[in-house]
């Protein structure tokens, strides 16, 4: 488990790199500076949590990182690819193959079952149906939903829908996971088990940026970044010892 996280994380191309990103909404004098000169580099296998008060720019940061919004100024690179000036088709491809996004309101397709919602991502990326379904079943098992595979979103509880959305973002592995309050509807033990799943996905090479108000969940991350009024005001140091191999003292 710690084979990857024990490696130095800076030698490779970062999974995500934001450089001096600004995002302004509206016109003066009513303009809102949602993000001001934000720079963030997330290494492969790194798990970053973003915290900050309501309106501090957390969701804006995430949507820009995922290519769902464009920055007013600054650059965004996913796996070294600059999203600025990319054609719509190229951007759609990055969103499909390189990014797994968990929305605050889940965004599941109501006409598809849990397993179909998850498998769809792999099928759209060209994997065969059987293969995709098998991977989806495993991923849903990892978030504790092995017995809800054929349920439709309307027949799932809020917390279960949230976990399907997380499985959809993780399935297949290797994509950059961007999640906005991914445990908002979960009780603390279920939330922790989702964080353990995320933690082991990152130890296996997934990179993640997770927005959360919940300090207990942020404590699972390698690094916590604090936003305030659109600015990154502070961060914790990256974890020195890997998550595993530490003993209580």
């Amino acid at each position: 488990m710690n084979a990857i996280s024990a490696q130095p994380k800076t030698v490779e191309t970062p999974a995500l790199e934001l450089t001096s990103v600004c995002r302004t909404y509206g016109e003066p004098p009513n303009e809102v500076r949602a993000l001001v000169d934000a720079s963030l580099s997330v290494a492969r296998g790194e798990f970053v949590a973003v915290m900050g008060p309501s309106g501090s720019g957390k969701s804006t940061l995430l949507t820009i990182a995922g290519g769902l919004e464009v920055p007013s100024t600054g650059t965004v690179r996913v796996d070294g690819q600059d999203l600025g000036g990319m054609e719509a088709a190229g951007l759609a491809d990055v969103r499909l193959r390189r990014v797994g996004y968990v929305f605050q309101d889940f965004n599941l397709l109501p006409a598809l079952s849990a397993v179909e919602n998850v498998a769809m991502v792999l099928e759209l990326a060209g994997r065969g149906r059987r293969d995709a379904t098998q991977a989806a079943i495993e991923q849903l098992g990892a978030v504790g939903l092995a017995n809800r595979l054929d349920h439709f979103p309307d027949d799932l509880s809020g917390g279960e829908q949230q976990r399907v959305a997380i499985a959809r973002a993780l399935v297949g592995g290797g994509r950059l996971l961007l999640a906005d309050e991914p445990t908002g509807a979960l009780d603390s033990v279920t939330g922790e088990s989702v964080m353990r799943t995320l933690r082991s996905a990152c130890d296996a090479g997934t990179s993640a940026v997770v927005v959360t108000h919940d300090a207990q969940l942020a404590a699972w991350a390698d690094r916590v970044v604090f936003l305030r009024d659109g600015r990154m005001v502070d961060h914790t140091e990256p974890t020195v010892p890997p998550m595993t191999g530490l003993s209580p003292s």
């Binding site: 008060p53 919940d214 942020a218 404590a219 916590v224 604090f226 974890t239 010892p241 530490l246």
Partner: protein
Amino acid sequence: MYGQQLKSEFESRTGSFWPLNVGQVYTSLDRLERDGFVESPGADVDAKTRPYVITAAGQVELDFWLKDAAPPKAPPRDDLVMKVMIAVSIDPEGSVEIVQSQRRQLIERMRTLTHVKATPAADTPLLLMCDAELFRLEASIRWLDTVDARVRAGVSLLGAPDETSVAPEEIAVEEQR
């Protein structure tokens, strides 16, 4: 059960966070025996060599103790609360940075405990102890978030009367309705 055994049972069941002094254990056993909550054969033999057994009255008392809430206490003296309140009283705007520094350090402490939870060796008592400490730290962080929001909203924490404060007469009127 022997005193030494009792000590190690207590420690392993509570995540080894509170080491017990074995002398203290014998003193407590003595008192429990006097009150009839435990009994032991051969009262004149040294306490160290005697096994103790809980009595029926002891069972009843134990059950009561487990269910009974701890008596209310005055809030414990809390360094964090003191420091932040002093910082806010000196310079509300400048306190933002102090609050953030405290918040970051609390999160770092939470991360260390979370590392402990992530170890494969973490058993249930250890997980429960870590959880208890994590909830405590989280409560402090939420308090800091609230301080932040109140300072930002310009509410005077010093209680200086201002236009928004409610006069005692108004509360009385409110209650009569």
